[in-house]
Symmetry: C2
Subunit: 340 residues, 2 copies
Amino acid sequence: MEDKVIKMEHGAGGELMQNLIKDLIIKNIEKKEAGGVGLDELDDGGSIPLNNFRGNVVLTTDSHIVKPLFFPGGDIGKLAVSGTVNDLSVMGAKPVALSSSIVVEEGFDMNKIEEIMKSINKTSKEADTPIITGDTKVMEKEEISDLIINTTGIGFCKNPVRDSGLNSGDKLIITGPIGRHGISLLSFREGFTFESDLESDVQPINSLIDSALKAGGVTAMKDPTRGGLATALNEMASKSNLGLLIKEDKIPLTDGVESASSILGIDPMNVANEGIAIIGVKKNKAEDVLSELKKQKKGKKAKIIGKAVKENKRKVVLETKVGGKRFLEAPDGDPVPRVC
Amino acid sequence: MEDKVIKMEHGAGGELMQNLIKDLIIKNIEKKEAGGVGLDELDDGGSIPLNNFRGNVVLTTDSHIVKPLFFPGGDIGKLAVSGTVNDLSVMGAKPVALSSSIVVEEGFDMNKIEEIMKSINKTSKEADTPIITGDTKVMEKEEISDLIINTTGIGFCKNPVRDSGLNSGDKLIITGPIGRHGISLLSFREGFTFESDLESDVQPINSLIDSALKAGGVTAMKDPTRGGLATALNEMASKSNLGLLIKEDKIPLTDGVESASSILGIDPMNVANEGIAIIGVKKNKAEDVLSELKKQKKGKKAKIIGKAVKENKRKVVLETKVGGKRFLEAPDGDPVPRVC
């Protein structure tokens, strides 16, 4: 290993994090699968086939360290439930139950915990997913700041949908505007005046994904969180061994994100989203899936943004607004730290 | 709420923690079960019945914050896997898969992470339970010290074994000597000279529990971690609405724990264990279960320590070595902080 200590970029969802996971974790763990999707796959979760049940249990985990705890459009509680529900959903699973484990600093205000719990409750009701077990730990003030929430979830599905499942010709749909979580958090932290639509997109989208699955033809899904759309698309290209051809002018953006990102000098393609998904769909079913998504409020701005092709394998090609073409690279990490 | 801020005791596994969980968490969360054991039950995990599968999925979670990361007999990696495997086991479930989520400080030594991963690997092999998904986050040095590991696990069983399942007349078995984890950690932190047998008991005991279940007659099980045997027995008494009559001289103790605890002035009944279980068994099956446990190395020192009775409901009565009787109270918390 070249780097001998942990850097912030190791947690930013990019290539450095992937390398860390491969070099330190994957390499050292030998028991990595239970007959289904395992740790090696670096998908949004793992799965366990149940033969008698004729289906799979999907397991996914996230520790949430977002700062500040309360931000425009949400808070750590809403994020914790949404993040895990959405990871299960993009694995093709119906979320069935969550665990919630809290590590909090000594001296922390209980009213804030109550506010976060109310938010967890509201989001779990919105996602129709119960929290059935939990854990509480307290650490000294010098050893942790505020609080961290781990949510782990299980879901059921017949067969998991993989982020590697694209076939040549499949269309790529994005279920909503990009960059809202990362750009709004950064603007809020920097104290920029706030435009009305500049809010995090954090929300559970299990019912939205469910409607896409019911329409049929879904071949791959992914949650573009840390590292944003650019990272998620590159991972999908890489894992399916195909090229992705993306039309820049089709990528949905809100006015707020467009103006704030240009002022901040941050590409919204590279920052985290917490309430959208990328869905790969067979060409002849793409319009059906799109129209089902658009029937729901959370999918009103869904768009077909491109397709999988045989050329430029493992690369993402962006057809720019001015008519040019360029490779869309994954950033080393997320330019906005501590977003999830 | 009388206390408006979090105190260390809120994380110590005792009554203060129970109150915190009831007042702040249970009260605010409405969706708390998925048809099986739910959050309200405050058991070692939750469960989800699968009708077609004719069984249950059990889910359990723990965030591990132990200090120091490496201690006599184990480290945070061994603890993380053992803790979750054991929680599944005492719910009567066969551990099937784990998730592992790490939050680490910027600047942390990668060689230490590697050492911890090797320990996770070794323990996951010992417990024959794979780690199928994970998450990695990095925080600034000022915001976290060293690293925290959340492990969440799922297991399968026909019907969960509850910590509330005792019936009057049932015998109580403890699978090994008590107090080793808490007393050895405290001694190590305080820099006391080390006796050869003063080591943490941290270990996965799923195969041990499995042999007890196969012998039959098991009615209740519990993991005496934070707050020790005293807390776990009081919870079992309270939840089953029975009294527990415990013979002090039957409780297995190592010489190392006995001498260190008297020097430290800490009752080994009140400190955490990480490699033993309390098993409630129907009277006529108790000797069978005991003899199965004793066949395994990890159960060699198992003992029948008492029984459930109709008198002194919701209380634990200790028959002391000198022939007296006293109520064994649960401590407010664990007298040794940051043990798991």
